[in-house]
Amino acid sequence: MATSLSVSTARHSRSVGCGLTIFFLLFLTAGAVTFYFFAILPLWGVAAAGSWLETPCEIISSEVGKHRGDDGPTYSIDIKYRYVVGNQQYTADRYDFMSGFNSSGRTSKQKVVDQYPVGKTAVCFVDPNNPEAAVLNRSLTWSMLWGLFPLPFLAVGIGGLIYTVRSSRNAQRQYRSSPLLAAANSATINQDNSNDACFIDSGPTELKAQSSPGVLFLVSVGVATFWNGIVSLFLFAGDNKGWFETLFMVPFVLVGIALIGWTIYNFAAMFNPRPKLTLSHSSVPPGGYVELQWEFQGSTNSIQRLKIVLKAEERATYVRGTDTTTDIETFYEECLLDASGMQPEISQGSVEFSIPMNTMHSFKSKNNAIEWLIHVHGDIPLRPDVKMQFPFTVRPHDDAN
């Protein structure tokens, strides 16, 4: 197969591309600025203060500052202290390297303030090169976890910009290569020879599952950790939450719980017996016969019913707003096996089947596909079922006359 191009209308593509660039640039800028102030500066301060000089100081004022915020009051640690360096007296008000960022929790700040009553002699750390710079607490603090908050924004911004730039480059390349289509469309270009390679029959072949339970488990762990990590930042950041804040967080917490449930489900699915499928030919033409052999790795005693189904699907991927969606439509379905109970063919067996004569061969382009696959479904009571799909190749007719 020769060159393959992916096309969408030019004006729409350009305006969407420009809009997306601005959108992702805003994300990147907001993420980068916030990350600099919430993460880089505090961590830099902690690292630099490691070599600052321990110096006695006297607390001259100590209180929890209260500030008006959009979602209720926020609080800060307001401690002033004085110290002497080289016969000169200095005054400073920095407690730690997150000073200046107010948040909604009062109790934790009150505890800190209580440790530094007015008149107490404490220890502060002074920059020997700039005695005006001092800090009471030069350690890493829990509040520095706020520095992780901008990371999703940075990731969305960087990932989105890479995607937009790649799409734009591909569109320019297509414009040069297909003027007729470019007159009405802009597009991305890719060299796709995968169909040709798959159409060669190289004899018996073991089919690969579309997704494995282990990968699904890792994905669910990642998604659940990310979601619940972000939600917990908001959940545990302050101590005095109003009813509105609590109510607002409920759906987010429920989604987090559902994600944990999904992760547990995927974990349990990892211990299911796994089917190994082998076809007598790596590709089969319409009208051709092929033998399918299956064998389960692990005990199949828990499987009460096994269904093996031959399917052909149309797959169409499209972009709506910022979401990419794939629709699937089954246009052929044939049950190859339906066994229940303790029948021996559940653990292993074989079946011969044919591909209909007047059907479509496998096809794959960037956004569209015709996929032939074998669906294995094993019913297991009180545990996740075995559900796996194994794509295989239907090649064009050997003689299409």
């Binding site: 197969m1 020769a2 060159t3 393959s4 191009l5 992916s6 096309v7 969408s8 297509q174 290569s177 297909s178 003027p179 007729l180 289509l181 470019a182 007159a183 469309n185 597009a187 796709d192 169909n195 159409f199 319409p286 052909a312 149309e314 797959r315 169409a316 991927t317 499209y318 972009v319 629709d327 699937i328 439509e329 089954t330 246009f331 052929y332 379905e333 044939e334 209909p356 007047n358 059907t359 479509m360 061969h361 096809f363 382009s365 960037k366 956004n367 569209n368 015709i370 064009p396 007719h397 299409a400 006359n401």
Partner: protein, 127 residues
């Protein structure tokens, strides 16, 4: 003006060799004229296009008729489904002006498009 003539036949077998009459009348001689055999998808998914064959027609005059012999690709078949259609076409393009014309054809088994209904187990072959 540019034209692609295929006679009365617009449906062909995969891999079939066909004769194509192409003609053009342009204000000035183009640098190059290309006859391309392309497919594109249409339907719910973002459109994909494949350029399967490009035949350069060199040293073109401003007014000209030429006969081109072309072997059609073996796949993908012309296809019509519920979400996706695959459409074949011949394109004649003058460069650098990019003036062009396009004629849609069918490439499939029995010189017919493969049609599926989108319902389980049902599918037909239609011309």
């Amino acid at each position: 003006m540019m034209q692609i003539e295929l006679g009365n036949q617009l449906a062909f077998l995969p891999g079939e060799t066909i004769d194509v009459e192409v003609s053009w009348q342009l204000p000035e001689p183009p640098v190059l004229v290309e006859l391309r055999c392309v497919w594109n998808t249409s339907g719910k998914g973002t459109r994909d296009v494949g350029v399967e064959a490009t035949i350069p027609l060199e040293y073109p005059n401003a007014f000209e008729n030429r006969r081109v012999t072309l072997t059609l690709p073996g796949h993908p078949y012309s296809f019509s489904g519920k979400l996706l259609s695959i459409i074949w076409a011949l394109e004649l393009v003058a460069l650098p002006s990019e003036e062009s014309t396009r004629t849609e054809i069918i490439i499939g088994p029995g010189a017919a498009e493969v049609v599926v209904s989108g319902q389980n187990g049902r599918q037909d072959v239609g011309a």
